[in-house]
Subunit: 204 residues, 2 copies
DNA sequence: AATCGATGTGTACAACGTACGCAAGGATGT
DNA sequence: ACATCCTTGCGTACGTTGTACACATCGATT
């Protein structure tokens, strides 16, 4: 009835198998279009079979969030610019590209809530995400070269990232006149911010 | 069966009546917790009665989006700072306050998608929202006084707003260590950006 | 061959959005 | 006063969703 797979009765590869199916469904239908039943069908399993591997739908969504986030981290890691300011420009462009070319994966990575339990001790930090850490490293480097203003690294990094994500968030909510306008304003704003965060020339 | 109101069989106040009920449900249960049935119950109407006044659930959500947005516009309008830079700081704080004290209303205002039909001609502009327009007016004023860098007004305004919204968006997705950290970083980043957007002193 | 834990299935239920047809109120014209 | 009609509300019903629960079946272990 559920078009069940007859091959192996499974060797613990099932969780990954389900996750792949979920990624396909996510890519095609978006977060809201992803249902347990659709994932099950694509995985050739009965809907209830998923519950042996994920506590509930939220757990599955959380796995997709982590997958999306690690895809994003790989993109960030692969940026090759030597100059730290160029690197920061490149990551801004990569962010935009990720949001536009893999929209549902982006949504999973950035919009799905992290499980509350996973939150950090409290006086310590959003700078825990590997992606933010990589940005911070470049900000530090630029600061060391005297090419960014002398402000807390975390604040600079987060301001840039939050601005980018804010733009995407507004775009998702249909707040721009179209993708064209969104792209143009996104890029202009990122360049503006990066420029503005350079040290004031008076100090020399 | 649905605990119906026996009073007036209605004098066209019903749409507003439903909307009020929806606002209460939104405030208590959030966007995801809002269902047609719950709104109907609170309005003392049958679920199907709502469909005489709203085409579907999305139409109701859209009304809530507009309500939230106009609440936000009123907040912005009521900011009293004379100095444009102080005004821009005040709106940043008001944004944070709105997000924290009326979270579900904020979500409705900023996260719910605008109906696609309502999008603008295309080369023209996100600066159409009254809230953005008010920010732009102050940015212009500050620029005229030589107290902000000479960059396109829309870009400056959007960079500030998008950064703020991006922070909120990340907070909603549980990306900070807690509300305390979120508030601190939000404020620090907004001050950093506002500082950075001042004109470079070399130009004098 | 008997047992057992891990994995998969089928059925069932409550909650959801909403299509459809009908009923009942208020307004209007006579 | 009555008949007409439009507006508004209701009840029922269907398909879809997440998932609780009881049962079945596999592979491994004894």
């Amino acid at each position: 009835m559920y078009n069940v797979r007859k091959d192996v009765y499974s060797v613990r590869m099932t969780r990954d198998h389900i996750l792949s199916a979920a990624k396909v469904v996510l890519e095609r239908e978006g977060i809201d279009g992803l249902t347990i039943r659709k994932v099950a069908q694509r995985a050739e399993l009965s809907p209830m079979a998923l519950y042996r591997h994920f506590a509930d739908k939220d757990a599955l969504l959380n796995a997709l969030m982590e997958d999306g986030m690690s895809a994003w981290e790989n993109i960030v890691r692969s940026i090759r610019a030597h100059d730290p300011l160029e690197w920061l420009l490149a990551i801004a462009d990569a962010h935009l590209d990720f949001a536009l070319t893999q929209p549902h994966r982006y949504d999973a990575a950035f919009f799905l809530p992290a499980p509350a339990a996973r939150r950090f001790p409290d006086d310590f930090a959003a700078g825990r995400s590997p992606a933010i850490a990589m940005v911070m490293a470049r900000v530090d480097q630029a600061k060391a070269e005297g090419r960014l203003c002398d402000r807390p690294t975390l604040e600079i990094a987060l301001a840039l990232v939050a601005a980018g994500h804010g733009f995407v968030s507004m775009h998702r909510a249909n707040r721009f006149a179209g993708e064209k306008q969104f792209k143009a304003l996104y890029r202009a704003a990122q360049r503006l911010l990066l420029d503005s965060l350079k040290p004031s020339r008076e100090s020399k």
